[in-house]
Every structure is written in structure tokens, then in C-alpha cells.
């Protein structure tokens, strides 16, 4: 695997909600390409049949009882909000899909 394209970096930046200037796009494309080129040693390995490890150890069925605990004070929570109104978090208009 090699060659990360400028368009791919632009697409990934959009998915991550990041804006890149033309210069940044150039720099990041080059830098990310280097890291991925280094990762090429993984692609050459034959790992068929090797199970993936998403977790370093094997715990399972960790659950908590369904008992109500304390919630936060809404005033304290909303005091940290960049914008709030009427006990709720306020955001500017949402373009795109309708729900």
C-alpha cells in the first residue's frame, strides 16, 4: 500500500470535520504518506488465520446493576456550554437532512 492522494486527505479531513488550507493539504499528504509507507511492513505480513486483538486481555460480561445514581446539576453542566437557552444546549441552524 502506498501513495496517499491529496483527494483522499481532503476527504478524510472532511469526515473528521477539519478544514485544511491548500498548503496544509500538501504538507499533511506528504507526512501522512510517510507514516503509511512505514506501515507498509505490516501489509507484507501474512497474517491469515491470526485473530485480531482489540483488547489486551480477556474480560467479559462486565455489567452494573440497574440502580439510579446521581445526575449532575444542570446549572453546572450548562455553565460550561458555549451557548445555552432555556435549560438546553444551543447550536446554530443545521443544514442538510431533516429529521
Amino acid at each position: 500500500m502506498s501513495g496517499l492522494s491529496r483527494d483522499e486527505v481532503a476527504h478524510v479531513a472532511h469526515l473528521a470535520r477539519l478544514h485544511l488550507s491548500e498548503d496544509e493539504l500538501t504538507t499533511f499528504t506528504e507526512q501522512l504518506g510517510q507514516v503509511l509507507a512505514h506501515a507498509a511492513d505490516l501489509q507484507s505480513l501474512d497474517l491469515t488465520g491470526v485473530p485480531p486483538t482489540a483488547h489486551p486481555f480477556d474480560l467479559r460480561n462486565v455489567v452494573r446493576p440497574d440502580v439510579v445514581g446521581e445526575s449532575l446539576d444542570p446549572a453546572e453542566v450548562l455553565a460550561e456550554a458555549p451557548d445555552a437557552e432555556d435549560g438546553r444546549f444551543a447550536v446554530p441552524r443545521i443544514l442538510g437532512e431533516d429529521l
Partner: protein, 470 residues
């Protein structure tokens, strides 16, 4: 003064917590402007805690094993009402409404948190140079980095501003700065210490651990913060292990593997100290064998796919809606984008994009999926090694503390600073960096002891042997 002696004297009423705090604060006042160690000093909170400890002693109550010990907290640990930034503009001014489990445990043990220390932004870096609030300087040579990402915490202990500090280690972020600042740093087994309240970088790799000026202090601090926490699903089910009582167990009869991949490419002065450490362990009764674990060479590549992938998701929540900074725009998507674009630094953006790419449709199997399989191989390789030996030995970092700007131009060069520490995180195992001799420019060198999961007592006893021999 070291933490164990200080706590003992505070508990006996020979010195007050308030006096110890005053000394800590005066050390901070003397050098913080120069070194940029603390982003926030919580004087009022610390003074109140110190008074509470002194009141307890006066009333005949035991304030706990860390009575009156000033501790520094990496600023990615949440502290209720106290600014917590992860060294990022995007969280500037945020005051969490809750406190991390480890901080609660320190306070319950009588410790006095003095403030929040600088780090690489969201713990992504190896020098603290990616902090949005300027780099921390190494107290031993202010022209050089303290390492990272927990550079501020390492520097606070090295500069005598705190007796203990907490850091977080995702790929070496405790051990590498400990090595570069000449102190002890422990990366505990994954799950030994609760992550509740630790601002996540890469959830399956992150682990909180202590910095200390002695192995015994590190052991005591780890005993206090370790143990099951019901608020962290990945927390190991058992209570904290007994560590201090095993410090003098020594290494007689232990088999130690000196791993060629853990010194490969390191500077000559570093290699020399690792060899000397091997000899010291042998002299103390250990049997040292030379091993090769080729899988460790794959660690860096796997790490720089797995950690950014998890980070890209963990950092999605910083969008200007609920907390932290918002850059205004007349439409939600534009607001999210402007906030993140101005709120994150370049290293964070690089990793978010790398991780987003590694997880995206069409590339998942080739990158992220493959990296998870490498992780399986790494765990298996360690397991096989631990069938032959009890501990592994290697370097912590490839070099002594480097100068500012030396590695910032090339991200890959910076990433290589973590090449010896990353495998432990991928395997979820334990490792300690202990200062052992000096190298270029008279700067400290750290050697690394690695063990399987839950081997902290064994590791710290071996580290103690090296501490004495050093």
C-alpha cells in the same frame, strides 16, 4: 524529600502538610516561569487539603499513607472545578464537573494535589512540544525537552516541585519522560489503574501511572491508585497488589532477557548503560540471557494505526456544542469545523486524519484490521518470551534528552522515540523505567524493565536492585 519519608513524618506530626506544601509551592514559584511545568497551580485547593491533613493529625486521625505529600497531576486528568485542558486550545477554560478516580484515591490517601502539568496536546507527542501552551523545559538542561507526553509531570518531580506525579502512558508517555528527566516511571498493566476521568487518547492503550524520585515512592503511589473501579469496565477485577512489601525481594534466581530489539538503533551511551544494568542484575543473582523478539519491530507501525484510529473517534466529541471552546459560524457543520480547525494543533490533526483514514471504508482491513492482528502476534511473542525468562531488559529511549525542534519537522522521527516503549502498551503489560547512569552531556539515561501482566511487584523489586547499584 521522598514521599514515603515525608508521609511518615507528617503522620507522626514531625512536619506539617502545610509546610511541605509551602516548600513545593516555593519550588514552583522559583522555576515555573522558566520551565513551564504547571499549566495551573491550585493554591487554594492545595492549601485546604494540607490543612485538612494537619487537622486530622492534630485530632489523632490517620490521614493515610500519602499524608501531606504534594503531587502533580498531568492535565489530562479531570479535577472538579479545576481547569483541565489536555494542553489543547479546544478545552481551554473547561472546568470538569467531576474528578478522576485516581485523583480521588490520592486525596483519600492524604496526598495534596498542587496543580496540573503540561503535556503534549491530548498526550500526542514525545517532547511536550505539541502543547498548545508552549513546551516544558527539562529541569536538568532547559535547552532540551523533558520528553513526553507527560513531560510536565516528569519535570515537576525532577525539579522538586512535587514529590510524586501522575502521568499517562499510551506508547511510552510515562517511561520516556522519566528516562529523560532522570526519575522513576511506571507503566502499569492495562486495567490495573482506573482510567475513569483520564481524557482518552487511545482507550485500549492508555494507562495511568506514577513518577517518583525513588522506586519505593513509585511503588507506594501505585498501591494507592491501583485496584478495581466499577466505573471503568476494563478495570481488572482484583484489589490493588501489595508492592512496597516486595521491594526488597531482589532478583536472585530471576531469569532476565536482554532483548536485542530493545536496544537496536539506540545511541552508544544508552546501549552501554543497558549492558551495565544487565551486569548489575547478574551481580545481584539474576541470570541474564540474550534474546531476540523480532515481532517487536512491528510495534511502531501497528501503534501508529491503532492509536490514531481510537483517537480519531475519542476526539470527535470536541465539536463546540457542550463544553470547551466554540468558534462561531452561522451553521452547525461550519461551526464544528471551525472549532476543530482552530482548536486542535497540527499533531492532533495529523493523528485524527491518520486514524480516520485507517478506519475508513476500503482501508480498514489493510490498515486497522492488519494492525490488530499484529497485536495478537506481539502478545503471543511476549508470552513465549516469558516462558523462558521472568523479566525483559532494554533501553527506555534511544537517546538522552534531545534539543527543542530537533524532531518536530519530521513526525516519523519523533514517533521513533517511542520504539522501545510501544510494545508493552500493545500487549497491555507492565514496564518500569529506572534511571541508570548518565550519557551524553552528563544527562540521565533510563533503562527499561518489562514484565507480563500483573508483574509489578517483580518489576519494582528488580528496579530497586538497579536503583541501588546505580
Amino acid at each position: 524529600m521522598n514521599a514515603i519519608d515525608l508521609a511518615a513524618r507528617v503522620r507522626r506530626g514531625e512536619v506539617t502538610a502545610s509546610t511541605a506544601l509551602a516548600e513545593s509551592l516555593s519550588a514552583i514559584d522559583a522555576r515555573n516561569d522558566e520551565l513551564n511545568v504547571f499549566l495551573h497551580v491550585d493554591r487554594d485547593g492545595a492549601e485546604a487539603r494540607a490543612r485538612a491533613v494537619d487537622d486530622a493529625v492534630a485530632a489523632g486521625r490517620d490521614p493515610g499513607p500519602l499524608a501531606g505529600v504534594p503531587v502533580a497531576l498531568k492535565d489530562n486528568l479531570c479535577t472538579r472545578g479545576v481547569p483541565t485542558t489536555a494542553s489543547s486550545r479546544i478545552l481551554e477554560g473547561w472546568r470538569p464537573p467531576y474528578t478522576a478516580t485516581v485523583v480521588e484515591r490520592l486525596v483519600a490517601a492524604g496526598a495534596v494535589p498542587v496543580g496540573k502539568t503540561n503535556l503534549d496536546e491530548f498526550a500526542m507527542g514525545s517532547s511536550t512540544e505539541t502543547s498548545a501552551f508552549g513546551p516544558t523545559r527539562n529541569p536538568l538542561d532547559p535547552e532540551r525537552v523533558p520528553g513526553g507526553s507527560s513531560g510536565g509531570s516528569a519535570a515537576s518531580v525532577a525539579a522538586g516541585m512535587a514529590s510524586l506525579a501522575l502521568g499517562s502512558d499510551t506508547g511510552g508517555s510515562i517511561r520516556q519522560p522519566a528516562a529523560l528527566c532522570g526519575i522513576v516511571g511506571v507503566k502499569p498493566t492495562y486495567g490495573l489503574v482506573s482510567r475513569y476521568g483520564l481524557i482518552a487518547f487511545a482507550s485500549s492503550l492508555d494507562q495511568i501511572g506514577p513518577f517518583a524520585r525513588s522506586v519505593a515512592d513509585a511503588a507506594l503511589c501505585l498501591e494507592v491508585i491501583a485496584g478495581h473501579d466499577p466505573r471503568d469496565t476494563t478495570s481488572l477485577p482484583e484489589p490493588a497488589p501489595s508492592l512496597v512489601s516486595h521491594l526488597d525481594d531482589g532478583v536472585a534466581g530471576r531469569r532476565v532477557g536482554l532483548v536485542s530489539e530493545l536496544v537496536e538503533g539506540a545511541d552508544a551511551d544508552v546501549v552501554a548503560q543497558v549492558e551495565r544494568a544487565a551486569a548489575a542484575l547478574e551481580a545481584a543473582g539474576a541470570r541474564v540471557v540474550r534474546l531476540s523478539i523480532p515481532e517487536l519491530r512491528l510495534g511502531l507501525s501497528a501503534y501508529y494505526l491503532i492509536a490514531p484510529a481510537e483517537a480519531s473517534s475519542n476526539l470527535a466529541r470536541y465539536d463546540g456544542v457542550r463544553y470547551g471552546r466554540r468558534v462561531a459560524a452561522d451553521e452547525l457543520g461550519a461551526m464544528n469545523e471551525a472549532t476543530r480547525t482552530l482548536g486542535f494543533g497540527d499533531e492532533v490533526k495529523r493523528r485524527i486524519m491518520l486514524g480516520t483514514y485507517a478506519l475508513s471504508a476500503g482501508y480498514y482491513d489493510a490498515y486497522y484490521g492488519q494492525a490488530l492482528k499484529v497485536r495478537t502476534r506481539m502478545i503471543e511473542a511476549f508470552r513465549q518470551a516469558y516462558e523462558q525468562v521472568d523479566l525483559l531488559l532494554g533501553a527506555t529511549a534511544p537517546s538522552v534528552a534531545f534539543r527543542f525542534g530537533e524532531k518536530t519537522a519530521n513526525p516519523l522521527a519523533m514517533y521513533l522515540s517511542d520504539v522501545f516503549t510501544i510494545p508493552t502498551n500493545l500487549a497491555g503489560e507492565a514496564a518500569v523505567s529506572v534511571p541508570f547512569g548518565t550519557g551524553a552531556a552528563g544527562l540521565p539515561i533510563g533503562v527499561q524493565l518489562l514484565g507480563p501482566g500483573r508483574s509489578e511487584a517483580r518489576l519494582l523489586a528488580a528496579a530497586r536492585v538497579l536503583e541501588v547499584a546505580s
